[in-house]
């Protein structure tokens, strides 16, 4: 008898649940704020400035989406996540999107049920060592102690790299970039490994960056990009095309400086479609016509965002490299706005 009561309760409960995956766009609009997952602090990619305002390369993507959807680039609630908590935060709906230098992999896309909307930084895993160790190649690291952020793809790449080269190492698992920095600087580990861009960003915050070198080996492909939950394709489209708008804007020469002038109308139909003076792309997305214009105005086009946060003029000093436009020999290639 007890069992049938139990089964009855089960049926009742499953009837009650069910309507779970609602439209994220409506939620964000109703809330008036975009909840965006970022790192707990990685200078250049996402970190609060002296006034507590978040800024960085990943933050710029969040701000562009907020500008496109809500009309206000500042209407973002930044949720700091660690390598371990980020996916749970996204899957549970705590955040609407994740822009946290996260590597696009098969299992994350397929098995963890997320949608990567594109790539905003083509990266690879590198190694940083103190110059005084005199190491010039990662293959000389036999027996070294390696600091590594736990819950990342780098953890798996590291195991693969050392196994493939048949050398041993001692992993020291670390929760956040700040802890890794502390242990590395104290000499509790010989090597710090993570995405090369992250290493450059971390090194830039050191007292004496020149005392540390990045080894030449890049041991993996790490396409980093923003991601959303699987299943809400409308929302996925908005984030995807906001990122594409920033990339296309650079390709088409639309900058935050000339966007006012260009949005009066140009003789380039693609610029017109992007900025909403021609066609109804915004309407198709469920937004208004000027969505992309606002997204670009939030922080400039992709190139401007890059140069401002992590480019060669900044302490992080990353070259465009793979992240140049396809017309300049890089990998950035936005599908056409048509």
């Amino acid at each position: 008898m007890k069992k049938s009561v139990f089964l009855g309760a089960l049926t009742l409960a499953s009837m009650g649940a069910g309507v779970a995956a609602a439209a994220t766009l409506d939620d964000v609009k109703a809330r008036g704020k975009l909840n965006c997952g970022v790192t707990t602090g990685l200078v250049g990619f996402a970190a609060p400035d002296a006034n507590g305002v978040w800024e960085g390369f990943d933050v710029a993507v969040c701000r562009a989406v907020a500008a496109a959807v809500l009309g206000d680039p500042m209407a973002v609630e930044f949720v700091p996540t660690t390598g371990k908590t980020r996916f749970t935060a996204l899957a549970s709906g705590e955040i609407d999107m994740l822009a946290r230098n996260t590597t696009w992999t098969f299992s994350r896309d397929v098995d963890l049920k997320f949608d990567f909307v594109g790539v905003n930084y083509y990266d690879g895993q590198g190694f940083m060592v103190p110059k005084e160790l005199g190491v010039s190649s990662a293959k000389e690291l036999d027996g070294a102690t390696v600091c590594i952020q736990t819950g990342t793809t780098t953890e798996l790449n590291l195991a693969d790299f050392f196994r493939a080269n048949n050398i041993s190492y001692e992993p020291v698992p670390i929760e956040t970039n700040a802890e890794a920095q502390q242990q590395y600087l104290a000499g509790a580990c010989d090597v710090y490994t993570t995405d090369a861009s992250g290493l450059a960003a971390t090194r830039a915050t050191f007292e004496d960056p020149s005392a540390h070198v990045l080894l030449p080996e890049i041991i993996s492909k790490e396409p980093l990009g923003p991601l959303v939950r699987h299943g809400d394709n409308e929302w996925g489209d908005i984030v995807r095309w906001t990122l594409n708008a920033l990339i296309s804007a650079e390709e088409l020469g639309v900058t935050s400086a000339n966007i006012g002038e260009l949005s009066a109308g140009t003789n380039n139909p693609e610029v017109n479609r992007l900025l909403g003076t021609e066609g109804n792309l915004g309407e198709m997305l469920g937004l208004d016509a000027e969505w992309a214009k606002r997204a670009i105005m939030a922080g400039g086009n992709y190139g401007e965002v890059f140069e401002k946060n992590i480019g060669e003029a900044t302490p992080i000093g990353l070259a465009r490299g793979l992240n140049a436009q396809w017309t300049d020999g890089g990998l950035l290639y936005s599908p056409p706005f048509r």
Partner: protein
Amino acid sequence: MTTLTDPPRESFKLSMLIYDTRYRSLTIQIVALIGFLLLIGWLIGNTAQNLADLGKEPSFGFLAEPAGYDINQRLLDYNSQDSHLRAGLIGLLNTLLVAVLGCITATVLGVVIGVLRLSKNWLVARLMTIYVEMFRNVPVLLWIVFTMAILIETLPAPRAFRGENPEASMMLSDSVAVTNRGVYIPEPLFSNSLGNVHLFGESAIRFDVSLDLIAFLAVLMAGFWVSAWIKRRADRIQEETGDRPTTWWQRIAVVVVPTGILLTVLGFHLGYPELKGFNFSGGIHLRNSLIALWLALSLYTAAFIAEIVRAGIMAINKGQTEAASALGLSPRRTMSLVILPQALRVIIPPLISNYLNLTKNSSLAIAVGYMDLTGTLMGITLNQTGRELETVLMGMLVYLTISLSISAVMNWYNNRVKLVER
């Protein structure tokens, strides 16, 4: 003639379920039970439904897949190609290691500090009070992180040991190296080793048993057994003749001599740590994370145990001590024969819950990167496979099992020492 008739049987009415005191409590209990089951059913149903909506049906197939990550501290052999289950097992052993080490250290420290707090020496008693109040009033997580920070920041890195005039040097005639990556101590080695027995083939629970260790333990146990036999014999002679033969040297010899011979035959020697390349190699490496966690958990729990011990001793009436000394018992015998046996029955039950607390607090290991069960199964495995529900449920089940086992053992012990009342 009168016949005794049964009183007319009351027919059962539904309202009696509420108004009749015979049935009322039963009714209330059944209604509450149904409500409770409905609630549980709703929770399970809701979870299952939400998981199904996300397309993530619960499954434990991931446990057999290769883990892909390395673990630094492993008590059994493990490499990144082993399964997630094996990685979880390695984590479980690390949890048990720190829990056992922590419980032992905390008990020893706690008893000493608890007794010292009752000392008549004003300074010692106050110092112990300060210790207890400091440790039990700050969250244990802070102690763990603090200990780790001290170890990393104050101790020398291995590279400080290098060069002509090294900044740091090894201790105890070059046998122990204290670095900010951990402490390296000598390891026992056997040059004529008997080898290992490999159990469970290639499965996830495979392990090696060292025959040297088994032989060593067997000889040691046999030695103790013979020693106990000599004691019983001496007791018997004492009872019969009143003279106790001198046996202390025999009793020591039967333990020490065979063990010594065995160790010599096996070629026992110590392997010392040596600076090679980036790190020390050889010896046993006690990692910083283990030391920080072990120290912090022990010191924190010892503060609670000290209070329990103090309470246990103070619970014994002063008259007991006075009666014992009136009978002519020395203070030491008073403590061991009168006070402690009675204090233990007060001490054991709260001691159990402190052991449980220490074991569960060991899951804070992740703060210092100690690869315990929370770090492997509920940490990296969870993250790499995305199986939150399954891994966390498994983790909860394991902690529950560990805690219940500790409870069972300690309750058994409690039943043995508790006061037998008539």
